[in-house]
Symmetry: C2
DNA sequence: GCCATTAGCTAAAACGTTTTAGCAGTTTTT
DNA sequence: AAAAACTGCTAAAACGTTTTAGCTAATGGC
């Protein structure tokens, strides 16, 4: 384990040229700096021969750019965020960046700790899924001279770029679909986060219910804690079904999957009574019987736009003007209702 | 965006002390270097006041340690690898490390490119899910003075640490379970990778079939290309069912999910005829009806052991001795057979 | 009161790059 | 033939840390 990596100086010594020249050649700046083709070729060959690999730590220190984008999601093990990570990885690599990630577990202190870790690692930009009660931390982050784009959700009170799905539209479409199918009384299940995505989904649901003759009397909304899925979901489901709800509206994949499992265990056959719809489109929805009707978020679009925005902010931070980008997803109709 | 981050020199200037002193204090080396408590306190307070954040690029350059672990999986969007990433993130953070990831898409050239990127970023160690035809690249990597642990699979021909599931045992258990349930003719579906995990799963399957009176005559094995799932799976399924197979054995979650979807679309009710089992335990398996009997890999154990191994190799690379660690998973019996 | 020890600190090199000013020749322009 | 412009390169500073040798002053032992 003693073998050291070759560095510019090693190549320079071998060829008896200056370190600067080697650097110029290998970073593709030969032309602008009038390096002769002959020398340039020699350097390139020798570098290959010696297995030269640039030290990005050194380059980053010197240039002030690490080439790293920090990504903070709620939980990378959640397939929704896993997909996000993947699309972001792809997009970032197209513009020569790489991704460090961290999972906040919807916990503002973890989020803040990740932010600080990423700052100390000199990431060039951050892509963040904000969590509840993190406003102060996010405002603090806003003071830093580094581009940030929020994804999946936004946070009122902090003016920053956002790329996310049209949660209102999604919930509206899902609700209307249920009503069209003739379900009369509907129970919704949402997380207790006072975050844009949740709030918009509730609003969309309620807007959809407004079409119903008896309006909000025909629905119930159960609010569940992110860390309390196990304990709170079963009682909430029972209560909702007891009330006579004929259809269930799940505001995200975690709640839906857990609920379907619970219903399965209780021997309640989903599909007719109760019917159900959900946000997100995990694999499980196309494999379960019946398949679950859902609103699939345009994850790829969100991610590619988010990375593009990052790029624009890095490249010309002066002229760039903030924007909230909201993208419609797709209603996928299966047999669960 | 002009505000620069405070650095050691800024604190030093404010307090009229040397940069070295500030560094020693803030990196917790006051005691060994006999810094007076008074001065140390002053430095700590001033650092907090000025919002000092260490520059890990600079530190890394100087110390030769980046504090980063490189993780290469096949696809972070696959929930199996997503879970892996999450456990590794957790374990790494316990020992003060952070994770950069990359997805190889089972492509050796992408894998190699990621390895080189990580090397140039001076990662302190790599956790790699090897792919087929990557032996040469992996041998090349072995020459580098950096700890590597392979996870999920190993690669014959490269002597390195490995943490993975007992694929042979898993396949054996799944097969025996099918036979015990009275299924007579069984079709297996595996990827075409000549990788340890696949090979061991096939071996385990065949070992299980050896218990059957008519032995290997009672089974068929379909080999599917990773990039060809869409095109190859449906014909393979039809052919297998045509042959009279009463049960299906899927060697991983991607194949299983895709197959179940295809079967659903064709209106073939899984559960009795055909019965089925699969490797891995994605959410979908507990949500589908019937639930899918499967062999769940001990992902958490694999990851925690992998990171511990990394740590040991970093800390005392001299004495460390290589090992292949194989962990048994758990047979989860549901209603699909 | 002298030498040895200790306490508390500083100065400076080093890590591996990038980048710029400018030097010495050569060629072109006038 | 002198001035100007260009060619091809080098030297050296800078990025923000860590770390070590060593300096000065105070303390202790006798």
């Amino acid at each position: 384990m003693v073998r050291r990596q070759t560095k510019l100086a090693d190549i320079a010594r071998e060829l008896d040229v200056s370190v600067g020249l080697v650097s110029l050649v290998l970073s593709g700046k030969s032309k602008e700096n009038r390096i002769s083709d002959a020398k340039a070729q020699k350097v390139i060959l020798k570098a290959r021969e010696m297995g030269y690999q640039i030290n990005q730590l050194a380059r980053g220190l010197r240039t002030g750019r690490s080439g790293i984008i920090g990504l903070i999601v709620a939980d990378i093990a959640n397939p929704f965020f896993g997909k996000m990570a993947r699309f972001i990885e792809n997009e970032a690599s197209k513009i020569g960046y790489h991704v460090m990630f961290g999972s906040s577990d919807e916990n503002p202190d973890k989020l803040n700790s990740l932010i600080n870790i990423f700052l100390s690692r000199q990431v060039d930009a951050m892509l963040i899924v904000p969590v509840k009660n993190s406003l102060d931390y996010l405002l603090e982050l806003k003071k830093q001279p580094i581009p940030v784009v929020y994804i999946d959700r936004y946070c009122d009170g902090v003016d920053e770029d956002v790329c996310c799905a049209d949660n209102y539209d999604g919930a509206l479409q899902l609700t209307r679909h249920l009503l069209k199918k003739g379900y009369d009384k509907i129970g919704a299940f949402v997380l207790d986060d006072v975050l844009s995505n949740n709030i918009d989904r509730i609003k969309g649901f309620q807007a959809g219910m407004a079409d119903h003759p008896s309006g909000s009397n025909a629905c119930s909304v159960s609010v569940i804690g992110y860390d309390e899925l196990e304990s709170q979901l079963k009682p909430a489901l029972l209560k909702t079904l007891d009330k006579g709800c004929e259809a269930l509206f799940f505001a995200n994949n975690s709640i839906a999957l857990k609920s379907i499992q619970i219903l399965n265990e209780m021997g309640i056959a989903i599909g007719e009574d109760p019917g159900l719809v959900s946000f997100d489109n995990p694999d499980a929805f196309s494999v379960s019987t019946p398949g679950v009707t859902c609103y699939e978020q345009p994850i790829e679009l969100i991610c590619s736009r988010a990375v593009k925005t990052i790029y624009e902010k890095i490249e010309n931070s002066e002229e760039y003007v903030m924007e909230r980008r909201i993208y419609k997803g797709e209603l996928i109709i299966r047999n669960s209702c």
